[in-house]
Amino acid sequence: MPRETEPHVQHDPLLVVALAAGDLAGADRNLAAAQLADCAECSTLHDDLLAVARATAALPAARRSRDFRLTPADAARLRPLGWRRFIAAFAGPRLAFTRQLGVGLTTLGLAGLLFTALPGFSLSMGGAAAAPSAAVVQELQTDQSFAAPSAADAHGQGSGAGLASQPAAAQASPGADEGPNDGDTTGRTSASAPELGETLVGTDESPSPSPLLIGSVVALGIGLALLLARSIGRRMANH
């Protein structure tokens, strides 16, 4: 009968567990074996652990209540063909990054559209907008052939110049004070120059959306397409 040399409460039960599991070696194994030899409770614990492990290993397998084989309908749903397979790929782990990409592109697109919609927005932001317009006006005043067609626009003859002509016409009088006074051409020149300054983009003769606008629309379109594809793919996978 083993003699107890120290109280059982001071013994580490996990040491006994590790010994029962065969996970100890060397000095630790010797220490655990000595503990078992000296403590009846540790010895009982060791034997109980082995008995529980044997019983666990011998647990009978529970019987299944149904057949888990797949039907053709299951297979078609789980592995779609053609365009459905392409869309379903967006819901898979390989293309999981498309969610973040779609959100990012959509956000960028919306932000870009908001920027382009701001009144007085140009590629160089804020009050500096007037200065480039003035510089362009000075440059264009030297080119009479460029000013003449613009003068015709200022009088509303072009269909797309309505918006441009109104601020141009409104500024015709102040423009006359600013520009060089030179007879009849003054009004025209002055009217045309602010118009050109005001409408750096989108004149009737050369309407061209800004790169920012184009890029924003493209980014928004791609972002929404990715999110939509992913959403449809997940619905197909869960259906």
Binding site: D48, V52, T56, P60, A61, A62, R64, R66, D74, L78
Partner: protein
């Protein structure tokens, strides 16, 4: 198509059979995949039901594991098909366990129902059968009472026969964590069964 047989141990006939079936399943042969299901559905269900105390949920988890395996046939990169299926089933069961933490239910309600246990042989000693039934019931109740992590580790180690490294790979934790879970789980089981240890010592 990648030839899986050249990348794995080819000496085991069971492994060769599994790889051939899996290759055919990859090529679109549903019957080949269902042959794999027939080979492993009993073992997979027995594994899952130890981890998910609710029998109906265990059936759902097992079915979902086979669905996932079918969807991800192209992701199999060699090795043991059995281990691959077990890994999928363990992950599915652990997902359900995490969800159940928020909605605890009575564990093992079917312990009172003998119909889902294998029947005793006709010539079995009735006393021995009754003791076995009592021991099984007590042990199942104790397994349901320990933590999910400990139960998964003990079931994979003691019941399924996987080693520490395989369990670490399946559950995504370190070797030391697996050992710790098994040791603490066994200690907890013993404490829970302390008043019925005579059933196990005999």
């Amino acid at each position: 198509m990648e030839d899986l047989r050249s990348t794995t141990v080819a000496d085991d006939p069971v492994q060769r059979r599994d790889l051939i079936l899996l290759e055919r399943a990859r090529a679109g042969d549903l019957d080949a995949f269902n042959d794999l299901v027939e080979c492993y559905q009993d073992q997979l269900f027995a594994l899952v039901v130890r981890m998910v105390p609710d029998r109906d949920q265990a059936s759902d988890v097992t079915q979902e594991a086979f669905f996932s395996a079918f969807r991800n046939l192209h992701n199999f990169r060699g090795g043991s098909v059995k281990s691959w299926l077990n890994r999928i089933a363990v992950n599915a069961a652990m997902d359900i366990q995490r969800a159940r933490k928020r909605r605890p239910v009575q564990p093992y309600p079917e312990l009172e129902d003998e119909s889902w246990q294998p029947p005793a042989p006709a010539d079995a000693d009735p006393v021995h059968t009754a003791l076995t039934w009592e021991r099984t019931t007590s042990l199942n109740a104790a397994l349901a009472a320990i933590t999910n992590d400990q139960r998964v580790a003990i079931v994979l180690f003691d019941v399924e026969g996987y080693d520490y490294a395989e369990i670490a790979d399946m559950t995504g934790v370190s070797l030391g964590t697996v050992k710790s879970r098994i040791h603490r789980g066994r200690l907890a089981l013993r404490d829970l069964l302390s008043d019925r240890m005579e059933l196990f010592r005999g």
